[in-house]
């Protein structure tokens, strides 16, 4: 699709982003051993997000996708690396700059049943961002902007919904409400953390179309987090595949899905469901679970599960490099 997004002047560029958490060890083991082990949730990420681009972060659960999204939004404090937002290093943001950043970047959560305060009406949910940022004191203007955001999110006749509570809405309506709560601040960038995975299949298409339309109309960029590669293919311009806190492959959506480089991507692509009966024979089924990010395997972190693993893989960490034009991968054999 569109590759011009990434050329110059990206909206966000991430350099060597790291998020480590101190793993909590038991009382006894903390007596025996002095070393605190670290969970390396995000372990050195480099990527750029263009203006008006939809970049998918794909990967299994535990690969650090959500942590990456939250670290970029500074909902989590990164332990290393830099994030540049519109060319500014976010490590230099002071309180007031961070407050302004909160209006420019928003997040949509996975579960619209959990991400809305059950004791807030539709109106106060959407008006809250305006109030906490002191954007408007005038009541009719506030109502106007709330109604506008609800319409933008595809909720028609918004004024009838003002006094409703989240539990009175359907799942799709709730997610639209959550989107309206983000849109009311007119952000440039939205982290969408599995925004449709809790919704019925029939409702997903509407929400996805809404998000793409918002990109086209308002130029909003998305970091779209999903575990579903078929969804990533459908919606995104580029896909980054994460495994255990690192990007193993990054390229345009078509390249990654049609000509995957990394064995991990190949395995994920081979199990994308197709709408007809197929047998699982000939598919690459990954064995086991994602290893514990406290004890990341030596060498290539994917080698214990890789169908193409060689002795070298457990010794040497592969370099992440541009294999084909704008198509990056990290494997010794690509």
């Amino acid at each position: 699709m569109k590759n011009e997004h990434t050329e110059n002047n990206p909206l966000i560029s991430v350099r060597g982003l790291e998020v480590y958490f101190a793993a909590r060890s038991g009382f006894f083991s903390s007596l025996v051993s002095r070393k605190t082990s670290m969970v390396r949730a995000v372990d050195g990420l480099d990527f750029e997000l263009g203006r008006g681009e939809i970049l998918c972060l794909a990967g299994e659960s535990g690969s650090g996708k959500t942590t990456t999204g939250k670290a970029i939004l500074r909902l989590l404090e990164p332990t290393g690396g830099e994030v540049f937002f519109k060319g500014e290093d976010m490590n230099t943001f002071n309180r007031s700059r961070l407050r302004r950043f909160r209006q420019e970047a928003q997040i949509i959560f996975q579960d619209p049943f959990e991400s809305l305060n059950p004791r807030q009406t539709v109106f106060s949910t959407v008006a809250e961002p305006l109030e906490v940022n002191h954007l408007t004191r005038d009541r009719s203007e506030k109502e106007e902007r709330v109604a506008e955001a609800l319409v933008d999110a595809g909720l028609n006749n918004p004024r009838e919904l003002f006094m409703r509570y989240p539990h009175e809405l359907s799942g799709g309506q709730r997610q639209r409400l959550a989107i309206a709560g983000a849109l009311v601040l007119k952000p440039d960038f939205i982290v969408a953390d599995e925004p449709v995975s809790m919704l019925d299949l029939s409702i997903r298409a509407g929400i996805l179309k809404l998000m793409v339309d918002l990109r086209d109309d308002k130029g909003i960029s998305y970091l779209f987090i999903t575990h579903d590669l078929s969804l990533a293919w459908l919606i995104s311009d580029r896909i980054a595949v994460m495994y255990l806190g690192k990007i193993v492959e990054l390229g345009s959506a078509d390249d990654v899905i049609k000509t995957p480089l990394h064995p991990y991507t190949k395995a994920l692509v081979s199990v994308i469901p197709v709408p007809k009966r197929v047998s699982l024979i000939g598919k690459t089924l990954l064995e086991g679970e994602t290893p514990d990010p406290v004890n990341i395997p030596s060498g290539c972190r994917f080698h214990p599960r890789c169908p193409e693993a060689q002795p070298r893989c457990s010794l040497e960490e592969p370099v992440y490099r541009e294999v084909n034009l704008k198509h990056f991968g990290a494997c010794h054999f690509i």
Binding site: Q106, T121, P129
Partner: protein, 299 residues
Amino acid sequence: MNSALAKRDNFALLKKNMTSFWSIYRQNSMGLIGLVILLVFALMALFGPYLVEITVMAVDGVTQVIHPPTSGYWLGTDDLGKDILAGVIIGSRVSLLVGLAATAISMIIGTVIGIVSGFYGRAVDAVLMRITDVFLVIPWLPLMLVMAALLGPSLGNIIFVIGITSWAGTARIIRSQTLSVKERPYVERARAIGSGDTHIMFYHILPNVFPLIFANTVLVAAVAILSETTLSFLGMGDPTQVTWGMMLHFAFSMGAVSYGAWWWLLPPGICVVLVVLSFTFIGYALDEVLNPKLRRRDQ
């Protein structure tokens, strides 16, 4: 939230919640009994002092002291010949007032400390919880007695002393609920839209720990009323006020036991027990209503 719209919206929610709350609550017989007892005492405290006055029983000009119940003086008289029934009715006002005011102080301190401690965690939590632990482990009766003795006997001091010594349990409960509520995604969303800490604590955490505060208030009120009685009985109360505790204090010190004057000791004692019992019943019922896991299937 200061628009009229938001107010209307809060009122609608309140009404809706109260309706559904009542439909569950009224099926709980224990809770209903507690509520009825409490209502009787509340009416007594509100209107009683306007309806009765403490008179001295006299026959042919002779004051009838420590007189057993008769017609006209249904609960007899005390060592000064005063009507005990009127004393019990008038005493209910101050007893309940002290209990409720002390509860309010205790709940405010407990809620603020609980929410702040749970929300900020780390050093703030450690410091506040150690202070809470101190108040939890110090035997509260001696502490109250020492404080009441130092501050002197007045109604305000009694309220203050009870309030300041009874918040620790509430703080613990509110803290644990705050720890759970602050991890919900809507709190993270609130942060993402740029809300400050105070806004999050007030608009997102407080409303969601409120049911717990409500249920806990009732149990603290029972303890506070009992504490008032205890302090007054032990002579730390305000001697110019008629309360159940003061009545018990005078009855005991003037030898009601050795006279066998049961009508003098029992009525204020039974009133205290009934009020405390009603709060406890309501507390258990609220616990059952607000905690669906405890609700019985057949209800």
